[in-house]
Symmetry: C2
Subunit: 198 residues, 2 copies
Amino acid sequence: MFQLFAAVCISFIGMSCSSSVSSEAVYPEEAVLENIFARKSVRSYLDKGVEQEKIDMLLRAGMAAPSARDLRPWEFVVVTDRTLLDGMAFELPYAKMLTQVRYAMVVCGDTQRSPMWYLDCSAATQNILLAAEAMGLGAVWTAAYPYEDRMEVVSRYLGLPEHIAPLCVIPFGYPTAPEHAKDKYDPSRIHRNIFGEQ
Amino acid sequence: MFQLFAAVCISFIGMSCSSSVSSEAVYPEEAVLENIFARKSVRSYLDKGVEQEKIDMLLRAGMAAPSARDLRPWEFVVVTDRTLLDGMAFELPYAKMLTQVRYAMVVCGDTQRSPMWYLDCSAATQNILLAAEAMGLGAVWTAAYPYEDRMEVVSRYLGLPEHIAPLCVIPFGYPTAPEHAKDKYDPSRIHRNIFGEQ
């Protein structure tokens, strides 16, 4: 186990100059942990198509998330229409990169199905971001919920019914260049049994 | 790419009788996707210690999550005190398995640091669950937020300050037996550009 820990830490240091996990065969445990540490928010994309199989895998990954009482209150809109992508880019303050991409995944929640839709859909979003990283894609979580104005924009463009709320818009595609993952480890955030005890 | 898709699908079918991803070397992309599909909620645990390196890795995985404006509004409490685990099990309606485990990870958010703490902490929780699966551990997300009564229980036991809110309690440890991951894929949840168009 210490070996694994050391291997992942070393890989993590080495990873700062690679865009995603290596393509060489490794042990699954290492690959999963490396991918979690390699994930980053990508905001610059090539004008290049993404294989349909990869898009399907993003959707499958999203639906593999856990959900409260297993209610699965998610809906996924794959946006490829240029007018919709550009329109949302124009109206959403932090999603300007939608003009660069050919694809966005909009993760929505059914507010009638579960009052905890936004937590379950956040877990689904994280699955999608991790799957994208593993497949060499770049992606970024741009928030719609809880901002009413942004939710209105997305709902209007995508024709969402009243009870379907957009959590986020995830532009995705192939990144223009390798990007660094930040090392966000901070031992001061760890507590032992009682808050403040370390 | 089709090969990968087929490989993951076949593995997924085969996986129903294995507790976690295989320990043989594989390509990282496959390993990451398989692990996402293999993750399940484990509610039955062995009375067995977990290596400190694995616990450290769960914490590192949590802190590698994305967060709105990179504010990282998370705090993690690792609970190992028997009195605390049993006390929370007694008072929390859906966390009775805390009596079986030696460990729980409580993911909390700093409500002063970010108004979106519960979304960021959900992504951190998903990273922890995926890392646990990859390391052969079982874990389960039991909700505290948004239930005020459950949040009060957790806050009282762990001495959380007023501005620190518990999102969830994650009991973890080695599972008693291999468990199945559900296949939750549902193509009716996928929409193309406009909601309802498939």
